[in-house]
Amino acid sequence: MGSSITTWENVAAYFTFADNPAALVLFALGVTGIVAGLIGYIVKHENEAFKQHK
């Protein structure tokens, strides 16, 4: 469903959703969310760990 090409003739950018900027923006937001979420997850884990070892 995500292919951006129907033929290999004269192909340039051929990656999935290359022809769908909205989808690429969504994916970029997803990457942002995962990185931010990771850091948030670590902050939460640290706060709990420090509480347990007062």
Binding site: A13, F27, F50, H53
Partner: protein, 463 residues
């Protein structure tokens, strides 16, 4: 019977040959930077070993996980905005159009007609990861992993690459206005990262027990041999890093510096090795300490990296020896000022990188640039060196100050006493370290017969 050879058929054959040659040349460019990127990974293996070794054993895994996660956050964030910053900010703080470098651009993914963007992005992402990791060693044993990751994203995916846009981009204002010359990234990577680290260290504070009644104490690495091996791995990785700093051009141009001036790998080879050797000697004479002696190899390379293409090898060697001596002096000065830099990163990278940029002005002043950029001058290099230091220091201090105010910068006091591994990482680097040799093993012996160990159940230690 052979076909008749005509001028047209010869021309067609020549065009086919030309197209094949150009394709292979483009592939060679890709291959070169692919392997530079791979070799740069060794820098991170080195940082991993050297920072884990430099920590006390109670914090060894925390130091390691920090390094691994640094790569995991810098690579995607460099994809999200790092590459765009490089392309958008050559003029200063006002962006130019660089839509092709945004993560939703068609240029930022597999494209059979673009054999450059991905491989250059990868090399720059690894430069960013290296820059972000320079901070890592200095702050071991008391920084929160989360705080480190926030700081390293700013440093590795934003701050240094802004310096790169100013000082490495063909239209960068430091080049076009000052004739800036920094082919091996002494300024844009090392000075920026070192002074960013200094800003963070001021807010982070020293490790507990580092200063007793104002006197600096030695906190010994738990594995000095591992730190030495790690440092040597970083040196190995530097060959990928410095290879990635040279431009492999298509056509008949050959190698050039990032400023389009002619050079070659031979020039880099002479001075990288001579700098490496000189730095070791300088730091050995200054300390006779194994850790600093090996760090001297880094000092030596960084001290000549900015002018790697220009120096005579003997001069590079002498510069590196002197900078080895000076870097140790600077590290001692910082310690006297109450700064606890666990691995000497501010001296090795910040101080050395900054002075290295200025030294190009001293020894290579008058060297012409191309494409209308002014020649190299001492004033231009010294100004740029200060800019690099400030560009690192101000955000490093500012962001860490904010994290400190939010109580997010440093681990709790109890955590620092017990060790971050036990409190936060929940793992032990050497779990068998305190187990007497006569204790029964927790692990079943798979080679023992049923009469030796019939139930194969885990036995508590000392039971």
């Amino acid at each position: 019977m052979s076909d008749t050879v005509t001028l047209e058929s010869l021309q067609a054959a020549l065009q086919t040959q030309q197209a094949t040659f150009e394709m292979h040349q483009a592939m060679n460019v890709e291959v070169f930077y692919w392997w530079c990127t791979a070799i740069m990974m060794m820098i991170h293996a080195g940082f991993l070993a050297y920072e884990m070794g430099a920590s006390r054993s109670k914090n060894a895994l925390a130091a390691g996980i920090k390094n691994i996660l640094a790569l995991a956050v810098i690579i995607p964030t460099f994809y999200l905005f790092g590459w765009w910053i490089y392309n958008a900010f050559p003029n200063g703080f006002v962006p130019v159009d660089a839509a092709a470098a945004l993560p939703w651009s068609q240029s930022m993914g597999p494209d059979v007609q673009d054999m450059g963007t991905g491989i250059f992005w990868a090399a720059f992402a690894l430069f960013g990861a290296t820059t972000g990791s320079i901070l890592s060693g200095a702050v071991i044993e008391r920084i929160r992993v989360s705080a480190f990751l926030i700081l390293t994203v700013f440093l590795g995916s934003a701050i240094w690459i802004l310096a790169g846009a100013w000082g490495w981009h063909p239209d960068g204002w430091l080049l076009t206005d000052l004739g800036y010359h920094d082919v091996g990234a002494s300024g844009v990577v090392h000075a920026v990262a070192g002074f960013f680290t200094l800003g963070v260290l001021i807010n982070l504070g020293a490790r507990k027990g580092k200063f007793i009644n104002g006197v600096a104490q030695t906190i010994s690495p738990h594995s000095l041999p591992m730190t030495l091996i790690g440092l040597m791995m970083i040196i190995f990785g530097f060959f990928g890093f410095l290879g990635g700093c040279i431009i492999f051009n298509g056509g008949d141009t050959g190698w050039t510096t990032i400023y389009n001036t002619p050079t070659n790998l031979s020039a880099f080879a002479f001075n990288t090795l001579m700098g490496f050797a000189g730095g070791i000697i300088g730091c050995y004479i200054a300390t006779r300490d194994p850790f600093w002696t090996m760090s001297g190899g880094l000092v030596g390379i960084i001290s000549v990296a900015a002018g790697l293409d220009l120096y005579s090898p003997s001069l590079a060697f002498i510069i590196a020896v002197v900078m080895g001596l000076a870097a140790v002096k600077f590290a001692k000065f910082l310690e006297k000022m109450g700064i606890d830099d666990a691995v000497g990163a501010v001296a090795v990278h910040g101080f050395t990188g900054m002075v290295a940029v200025a030294l190009v002005g001293v020894f290579a002043g008058g060297t012409p640039n191309v494409n209308g950029a002014p020649e190299i001058t001492f004033a231009g290099q010294a100004t740029a060196a200060v800019i690099m230091a400030l560009l690192g220091f101000i955000p490093g201090y500012g962001i860490s100050f904010l994290l400190k105010k939010l109580n997010m910068l440093r681990v709790s006091e109890a955590c620092e006493d017990i060790g971050i591994d036990e409190v936060e990482i929940l793992a032990k680097p050497y779990p068998e370290a305190n187990v007497p040799a006569t204790a029964e093993s927790e692990v079943p012996n798979k080679l023992a017969g049923p009469h030796d160990n019939s139930d194969d159940q885990l036995t508590p230690q000392g039971a």
